[in-house]
Symmetry: C2
Subunit: 168 residues, 2 copies
DNA sequence: CACCAATGTTTGGTGCACAAATCCATTGTG
DNA sequence: CACAATGGATTTGTGCACCAAACATTGGTG
């Protein structure tokens, strides 16, 4: 790492004149989607013994923090479409980690609650973050820095939501 | 039981003792998938006038760099499964940006070539990187730094591919 | 009380993404 | 030449992910 931007001064004119702005390798969007797919792929063998996919793991994390959750609340915490979560939660129900009941005070909304099995799974899941840090070869500080950077990107992307269809 | 690994060395002891390692908000994997989805979402309104989805845009970038490409080559450059690309490329053919012919010297492999329309699209696409930088409010250095960080994550994730199913 | 708007969930449609199985042209090897 | 083995592409199956439309329950309001 260690920024080599020593002689950053004035864009080092000649240096970057040949760069194609449409070059695939230089696209941040490509790098970030690859990184995301790579991380999810790295989780796969670790989550597999728990019978969880990565998005399912995130749902379980949310439920371990607070258990009766509505679909809407879950959707907002995970920043995922309700239409995405609905079948996903059903799959988690069919593997036995949660139950989908209706909230007594408002029959419109779901009350998604952990089963005993789902609650018990948390013990085994405790090991996941450590295993992943080790597998990826990151220390606590790397994790912190990466997390901060990603949250900044999330922020930027969210802020840019306003812009309607661009005219090109 | 002995889990809590005490106040290990330089972990700023008291400061982070209450942190739940399974807290959703602290998961890097969550941050990175959110960031990725956010970025792709930010591209959507910009690519829509070009009738391209984000993965399709990446395919076009690859083809603008080198035009007759086989599916295998494309798959390796984009780090995407051939099974993912096959239908995607067909969709790009049906929108008229490319043609899928067979390589004359080896009838097994595809020769994916740009059509005139596909080649012409590059002109309009020139504007995309600038528009996106502006929409996201990033300057050239931000982009460089983010790109470098993501490539490092790609690297780490790729390196960790070895590890078989973890036993938890 | 009946109707209407708001809220939460579900459904349908399109498009990734990966893994495994299949198909087919090519390239050995006997 | 015949016949395996290989290698590239496609298909199939499962599971996200988003959008828009349909649906149902609530909660007003005339």
């Amino acid at each position: 790492m260690s920024g080599t931007r020593a002689d950053a001064g004035a864009t080092s004119d000649a240096a970057r004149q040949e760069v194609d702005p449409l070059a695939l390798e230089s696209q941040v969007c490509f790098a970030i989607t690859r990184a995301s797919r790579g991380i999810v792929a790295a989780y796969r063998p670790v989550l597999e013994p728990l019978h969880l996919t990565h998005p399912q793991y995130l749902v379980m994390l949310a439920l371990w923090q607070e258990s009766p959750l509505s679909l809407k609340e879950l959707s907002s915490r995970l920043a995922l479409d309700p239409g995405t979560l609905s079948p996903l939660v059903k799959r988690l129900e069919s593997t036995g980690y949660l139950e989908r009941t209706r909230a007594s005070e408002d029959e419109r909304s779901l009350a998604i609650v952990l089963t005993d099995t789902g609650r018990a799974l948390r013990e085994r899941a405790q090991a996941v973050p450590g295993i992943m840090r080790e597998r990826l070869g990151m220390d606590e500080d790397d994790v912190q820095a990466l997390h901060a950077g990603m949250m900044k990107v999330v922020e930027l992307a969210a802020r840019s939501e306003q812009g309607g269809p661009a005219e090109i």
